[in-house]
Point group: C2
DNA sequence: ATTGCTCAGGGAAACGTTTACATATTTTTA
DNA sequence: TAAAAATATGTAAACGTTTCCCTGAGCAAT
């Protein structure tokens, strides 16, 4: 049976009007349920039947040419097979769906060129707004949005050097601080930090670590800090270096790095928490399922997504009560697992 | 600093034409790089400058009214915080981005009503095609697409009772068969199966299990089969029942059920693989990171996404050599971990 | 001197909606 | 009973593109 290749034409208002023997204006009013128009039940019936008969489906493309909102939001993330972003997106979708909008997700793979490409294409589509976890190579792309007056909300990664924009992310400083403090409270004094060095928000995690150490009067040795790139291989390598030091506990600055690092620990038969304690920043599923379960600092991804979407929708629909810029940093939560040994 | 609420107007072809002191036709030809038009370098320059000056960004909305492709594909999945679908989507995005298209992802939460709602909205947007992992409550929604002549490709969950459509999924029968066969080859004879009962594709997994058992002359006891709903809670409960039986090994029909089931095993301090062996269908990350690592049947999600996207794009662009319907069932791969004990 | 090219560019009609405005028939109200 | 209001519908002008069809000028070959 061969595949049909011809594409059917969509029925138009005109087709419907002809079949129902009326005018397109009447059809349009009926279909939009407008109250500005009196229509006899009989005619309404005829029109509705014609619609069904012809499989008429209104073209949002044509409507939005007439100034109607598109009903589309663009969401840009670095990657979306990253549970952190996936969870944010799930929340965004829940919210915007309630508003009758939908989202178009694209991944920038942390490349400012691709980011620009995507943003331009989305502007071309006249999307109503953007939710962006921006790349860190610059702010030109969001500058462009601001110039054009297109509403946008930034998530997770703050823009540097710019004050006037809406932001929702987690308190990365707090993440680092909480993780470190927890280890200290369990009697650890020699604590390592594995992170990466390209993002300002992770720099914050590192600063939180330093703050906790300092607050407790603990000196930080240089080789307790490892910064690499954000992938499992790098996590693996940083853990190799870390094992040559004298730390008794490690803050794993990201779940991706944690995956690599823990892989190494397993290969070397190093026991968690007996040989080394860890706290992971981030809470992917596997931290609950593995043996041992992991102590993690949980970021409220769902709430980030929800808030970002609400702010954007209100901005678009102009229903915002509060006209100042949002700058929300959501607190993190410590989730106790079995990966931290109590020292005495 | 208060938030600006006024939305800037986009510059139009007309604006550009006026500023460059020419006609919109000329501008359009220049911007589209058409060869059907002779234009002096000087005028071209003027136009390009006006474009920059005005921040002109062509409206894909208006173009597509004139019959141009939208450049949008709709992707529908039951959920996307499910690594199985996430991976498919990542692959789809890679492919369509190469074609200069982009995707709009929505989740149906396995509800045929919401599925219809989304499909209608997407048709309204005049998307060029669909990639759908359909709900199982019926085929009306895809029937509708077929009636309208809109290209679509089905992934993972075959439509029942319909022959003429493009399909890409994995060989679920093979998944069940491979998992079971592996356990048998390791000397297990009393093997349980935990699955769920609402999807035809999972029924296939169960059938593969039966086939392997039968092939090896092994009788299946009724209480070795547990079917529930697709969530961790159900997985947990089914494992409870399973533990009351005499099985030495279990095929976990989905990674979601596996999460619940393994949770219980951990709580009860039942050792894998010493007390019980497991093979999981599906390969989320944690199966490699936990202790022990898990033996899994790997489904080629990335390839599913790639093929589905290629088929759809070729269909849309009419570059298809082969006009018969695709019906691809990708073979699975056994990945050996430490969760199966060798019996003798 | 008339054709017939190649260049260079403008005019205007679609595409499928929305909506302001106009028209015509009833019904109500003063 | 005439004017005003309510009811019921049609016409046509946008919206921002694309593209077909013109108009002219300059030049070479009849």
């Amino acid at each position: 049976m061969e595949k049909k290749t011809k594409r059917n034409k969509y029925a138009t208002l005109n087709d419907v009007a002809k079949l129902a023997d009326t005018s397109i204006a009447t059809v349009s009013y009926i279909l939009n349920g407008s109250t500005k128009r009196y229509v006899t039940a009989e005619l309404r019936e005829r029109v509705l039947e014609a619609v069904k008969e012809l499989n008429y489906m209104k073209s949002a493309v044509a409507s939005s040419l007439k100034g109607k909102d598109r009903g589309i939001l663009a969401v840009l993330v670095p990657q979306f097979d990253n549970p952190f972003f996936t969870k944010i997106i799930v929340a965004i979708e829940e919210v915007v769906h309630r508003y009758g909008y939908f989202i178009s997700i694209s991944t920038t793979v942390d490349d400012i060129g691709k980011e620009k490409e995507i943003i331009d294409k989305m502007i071309g589509q006249r999307v109503d707004g953007f939710i962006i976890s921006p790349t860190i190579q610059g702010t030109e792309n969001t500058d462009h949005l601001r110039r054009l007056g297109i509403p946008y909300v930034i998530t997770e990664r703050p823009l540097s050097g710019i004050a006037q924009y809406d932001f929702v992310g987690c308190d990365n400083w707090g993440c680092g601080y909480t993780a470190t403090k927890h280890l200290i409270e369990n009697g650890h004094k020699k604590i390592g930090f594995i992170g990466w060095n390209t993002l300002t928000n992770v720099g914050e995690r590192e600063n939180g670590y330093y703050a906790a150490m300092e607050e407790c009067g603990l000196q930080v040795k240089k080789d307790w800090i490892e910064l690499g790139s954000l992938d499992t291989v790098s996590g693996y390598q940083m853990m190799q270096h870390m094992l040559k030091t004298d730390v008794s506990a490690i803050v794993l600055g990201s779940h991706i790095l944690a995956e690599g690092g823990i892989q190494l620990l397993r290969e070397e038969n190093i026991s968690i928490p007996n040989d080394i304690s860890t706290v992971i920043i981030g809470t992917p599923n596997w931290t609950r399922l593995s043996v041992p379960t992991f102590t993690c600092v949980h970021q409220l991804e769902h709430k980030i997504g929800t808030m970002a979407a609400e702010i954007l929708m209100k901005n678009i629909l102009n229903t915002e009560e509060d006209l100042s810029w949002h700058h929300e940093k959501l607190a993190c939560e410590l989730i106790i697992g079995e990966s931290v040994k109590k020292m005495n």
